[in-house]
Symmetry: C2
Subunit: 313 residues, 2 copies
């Protein structure tokens, strides 16, 4: 499920539902975001041909204070609910956790979202203020993604074969107009460790997607990984750079938000796996774990990245 | 780990660490709360005679926006980290999830906290305002609890034998000065369903603890459960009524917050199980999933309750 601007970018036409008003019929932006989660999960249930009662556990979270997008948007489904907070890493956090829980449960669902308008007024400035944005800043994606995982995978469909839970990495970055640089070190840490533990290298994968590093964070990632001996330049793509058309859409360093990775994965990456265009990918979503209060207190921004390894299986 | 007021109540002397200034050495309340999590987890590691590297996954969350108590307080441990948001249900959410993850991992840790001063200014009014509190309001507990779970339980120590993940229940309550009444229906739902599925009744347990229903919520719980055919009156205790001395400490309807259940469980309930004073209990922590924004938008308060069944095993 996506907003107007998202459907004017590179993923135009790939979404199950687009609201050209970005309101999703609600009267406040927070409720719009909640409604986007409700819609996304509804579509996921329909496409998987299951009903609420078939889902053992629903994992969800978003960027809004107290994750109200999930609690208000998903209440009506009546499914055992575990709230997550991983900032923009929520999609990968949920998928990683689901893949573990699938060992003891039949069906697990993951839902996450972000909304430009709810995020701006909560984390930055009210929209009415019309503040100028710095070139390294990113544009919060309006969109919600929902995923349903089951223990027994269908043939030739996306399958999580392993995952790695990230550690909190604080590289000392304090500029909230440059989230990419705060989050890139978390990807460096998890990717380097993952390549080491699995004894693999970038060339072993069809593609390596990060969630929302944007232009700045992606450059930093590729640069540091090269120093660590891994050439990501031909394999890495960031979902924040996939969604929008850089030249036309004025999003500065690219997209961001829980929805950024989630809707790219749901609408673009996973279908490519189903069609056999990708057979072996890494998906790493990153989150910046600060709050407006810690920013005001001049603390640096802790970041996290979680990795899921998805194959066509 | 607890604050001054908590150590003047019924659990006086049971905590590993008490800071009589409630600051935990930090210069802002948000950082005080983060520090309380760092201390609590440090004590848990020491008492369990393990080091950070022994912990496979750390699950944590708190009440502050973007759960910054956990991200700032626990970053230095360098453990794979999964952020949770379950409001005051976080302790039970974390324990339930840990008990599932223990089937595939060796050691899992859960940490949560709340702090009166960070919660008041975020959810209600700045402390300096000195607003009057309604009789049904509760007092957010200053404290952090940490738990370490492993697959192979020591003999005669607390053991989670099963758990139930709760569903979001919205009973239409809009009064944020009366959280007990918003959360009690979530306990009714999960307890009734748990008794049904396990074919047990209150008399089968040594005690049934809820996290922070307070006086108002506890009365509602007992009343509705009686209508459902279950007499909780002799078995139910609420952690919000355990911590403070009602007559002396002016906390109105009792304690609340993620820390309320967590420090009661860690300092009082689990030691009683270790000593054999309890052999079979239910612990149900409840959370109210609204935000100040949804309250301002006059939405009702969705609530959740998660249940863990703990025996001496």
């Amino acid at each position: 499920v996506a907003g107007k601007k998202e459907n004017e970018g590179n993923l135009k036409g790939l979404f199950d539902f687009v609201d050209a008003t970005d309101t999703f019929g609600a009267s406040t932006w927070e409720q719009s975001e909640a409604e986007s989660q409700r819609l996304a999960f509804g579509f996921a249930l329909n496409k998987a041909k299951v009903v609420s009662e078939d889902i053992d556990i629903l994992l969800a979270g978003d960027l809004m204070n107290q994750c109200v997008g999930s609690s208000y948007g998903l209440a009506e489904f009546g499914i055992p609910f575990l709230g997550l907070y991983g900032a923009c890493s929520t999609s990968a956090e949920g998928l990683a956790l689901s893949s573990m829980l699938c060992q003891t449960h039949k069906k697990i669902a993951v839902v996450t979202s972000s909304h430009f308008c709810s995020a701006e007024r909560q984390f930055r400035l009210p929209l009415e203020y019309g503040g100028q944005r710095t070139p390294t800043s990113q544009w919060t994606v309006t969109g919600a993604g929902a995923f349903i995982l089951e223990a027994n995978n269908e043939v030739n469909q996306p399958k999580i074969v392993d995952c790695m839970i990230g550690k909190i990495v604080d590289a000392g970055i304090k500029d909230i107009g440059n989230m990419g640089s705060a989050m890139a070190p978390a990807v460096v840490e998890i990717l380097t460790e993952y390549f080491r533990q699995t004894n693999t290298k970038p060339q072993d994968y069809d593609a390596i997607f990060t969630g929302d590093l944007g232009e700045e964070g992606s450059k930093i990632l590729i640069e540091i990984m090269a120093v660590n001996g891994f050439d990501l330049s031909k394999k890495h793509t960031d979902c924040g750079l996939i969604i929008y058309k850089k030249e036309e859409q004025d999003v500065h360093a690219g997209g961001s938000g829980c929805g950024c990775g989630a809707i790219s994965l749901a609408s673009y990456i996973l279908p490519k796996i189903s069609r056999g265009e990708f057979c072996n990918i890494l998906y790493i979503a990153t989150g910046a774990l600060m709050s407006p209060a810690t920013v005001a207190q001049k603390l640096s921004i802790p970041a996290i990245a979680h990795l899921v390894h998805i194959v066509r299986g």
